[in-house]
């Protein structure tokens, strides 16, 4: 099955986020004074072929731990959805 995974990487709550603070400052300057906090992060979209959803999630967890997020400073959240049958190698239109 082919899956589409969205991975949200954010700084841990205890880590200062200078980019978020700067964006908040910009919003305040534009008059959006109701904004009390902005946290900036990364949004990654992965397409992958795996046998089932549990396997897909396990693989992405591994990817997040090894590369996509740095556990020293970042947390991550994964959202997964099936997007159809996998196209076998060789059947892919050239």
């Amino acid at each position: 099955m082919r899956y589409r995974a969205e991975v949200f990487v954010t700084l841990k709550p205890v880590v200062n986020d200078p980019a978020g603070l700067t964006i908040r400052g910009g919003l305040h300057a534009l008059g959006f004074e109701s904004v009390t906090e902005v946290r900036a992060g990364k949004y990654l979209v992965l397409t992958l072929d795996e046998s089932d959803a549990a396997q897909a999630r396990a693989r992405i967890e591994e990817m997040a731990r090894q590369l996509l997020a740095n556990a020293v400073i970042e947390d991550y959240r994964i959202e997964l959805q099936p997007i159809g049958e996998a196209i076998a190698a060789g059947e892919r239109p050239s």
Partner: protein, 228 residues
């Protein structure tokens, strides 16, 4: 060590080869071994475009496995700027480097206080000594959790701190928001050091300072000491 996007390799080679008359070899990121080397330097730059996170991709370069083995065997490794970020991503040094608190790229001369001379790269220094060395980075804001910070302090792994010209560690002398003004740290054995400032750019009076030589000379002395 030269990764795609490394930019300070020639400055490091100049310091070692032209100023200190030591042999230098450029190691390509695709090489599999660091055999025959006494000292490995991971210079500054923007390895792999700093995509994802600074140093995150360089950590998986073929040569990094050899560098990790070399470090674990006690080989001397110095990570400067982007090299420091790579060493942290490779888990050879603790903590991480966040975006500067100012969100600005800072390129300027700073003062550094030598905190201890147990590391291979500060052997010739004396605690409290002040060095004048430039920085050039956008992401040098040292972060580690409180427990890690305390362990670093307790084990004498904080090697360099940003300070005023008289050696006082002040908020004003901190160029990037680093916790406890930390500019450089070592691993527990003192053979691996990472620092944000660029000692290779302060190795001749003509450049405004030769204080950076202390780091390279210390390593040479550490190696001589091992050989004896």
């Amino acid at each position: 060590m030269v990764f795609p996007g490394t930019w300070s390799d020639r400055d490091c080679a100049h310091a070692l080869l032209d100023v200190l008359r030591e042999p230098v070899r450029y190691i390509d990121h695709r090489e599999q071994t660091v055999e025959g080397l006494d000292l490995v330097i991971l210079p500054g730059g923007f390895s792999y475009g700093d995509y994802l996170r600074c140093g995150a991709i360089a950590r998986f370069a073929p040569v990094m496995e050899a560098v990790t083995d070399f470090a674990h065997r006690g080989g001397l490794v110095l990570g400067i700027c982007n090299g420091f970020q790579i060493l942290q991503e490779a888990r050879l040094l603790p903590g991480a480097l966040l975006r500067n608190a100012s969100c600005e790229f800072r390129c300027e001369w700073v003062h550094l206080r030598v905190e201890q001379n147990n590391s291979a790269f500060t052997l010739d220094g004396r605690p409290g000594q002040v060095l004048r060395i430039p920085i050039s980075h956008g992401e040098g804001n040292f972060f580690a959790d409180a427990e890690t910070l305390d362990a670093l302090e307790r084990n004498g792994q904080v090697v360099l701190r940003y300070c005023a010209s008289d050696g006082r560690v002040t908020e004003e002398s901190n160029p990037n928001g680093s916790l406890r003004n930390i500019a450089g740290i070592s691993n527990a054995h003192g053979n691996v050091v990472g620092m944000m400032p660029h000692p290779e750019r302060a190795c001749e009076p003509l450049l405004g300072s030769d204080d950076g030589l202390l780091l390279f000379r210390s390593a040479i002395h550490a190696l001589t000491r091992v050989a004896v």
